[in-house]
């Protein structure tokens, strides 16, 4: 069973509010990821991290920001939420070193609705 946790599972918030989506993993993985998934659509990588103090933008442009101060924690922040941010946000982690990388393990996701 994957040990990666996201909170909250569901969030409804007003426009302009600042929000932070939490993601923690207990597997000691150095690589962590945030994906955005709209209903019935593919997963788009929006942020990733190779380790502490390392963060990179993903393939899909996002107004969110991330930080990686501790190995196990990879929070995502929206400074001013807008309805266009309504989506599901999935956190994942993986370990190992090339060419022996592990698969990615996913959290339950946070379904965000901005009204």
């Amino acid at each position: 069973e994957a040990d990666i946790y996201q909170t909250p599972r569901y969030l409804v918030i007003g426009t302009g509010k600042k929000i932070t989506l939490e993601c923690s993993q207990t597997m000691g993985h150095d690589k962590m990821y945030w994906y955005q998934q709209d209903p019935g659509m593919e997963l788009h990588l929006i942020h990733y991290s190779y380790g502490v103090n390392s963060t990179e933008k993903g393939d899909l442009s996002s107004e969110s920001t991330v930080s990686r101060i501790r190995t196990e924690h990879f929070p995502l922040t929206l400074e001013s939420a807008r309805p266009s941010h309504t989506s599901q946000y999935l956190c994942a982690s993986s370990g190992g070193r090339a060419p022996f990388l592990t698969e990615a393990f996913f959290g339950q996701g946070t379904r965000l609705t901005v009204v």
Partner: protein
């Protein structure tokens, strides 16, 4: 650009029917390939993975997939589906030892009892 394509967006089958979901990737180098499943209300779970070796890989719940390098394909198969296989299936690829995992658009499978 590196990409993963799943051509079947929605599939409807009756129980006991055979399943094959297509997945193609666009990259000529080394790839790691994955199939994930997302049951309603649950998180993404790994069904199976291919890193190297035998191109026919077996996963959980009776699923298997075949890596055909010449066709850039990694199709998922199951000889006899069950109602409980109703879910969304995602193909994913990690190319050339990159840490990034690229996903296809997913296939929504509905199995009628």
């Amino acid at each position: 650009a590196q990409s993963v394509s799943q051509h079947n967006h929605h599939v409807i089958l009756s129980e006991a029917a055979s399943l094959e979901l297509g997945c193609n990737y666009s990259y000529g180098g080394t790839v790691n390939l994955f199939w994930y499943v997302q049951y309603p209300g649950q998180h993404l779970q790994l069904l199976l993975k291919y890193f190297s070796g035998d191109p026919l890989v077996k996963g959980i719940k009776g699923f298997e997939a075949e890596f055909i390098k010449s066709k850039f394909s990694f199709n998922l198969r199951k000889p006899s589906v069950q109602w409980s296989d109703t879910a969304e299936y995602f193909c994913a690829a990690r190319m050339d030892s990159s840490y990034k995992l690229i996903f296809g658009s997913g296939t929504r499978l509905l199995v009628r009892p």
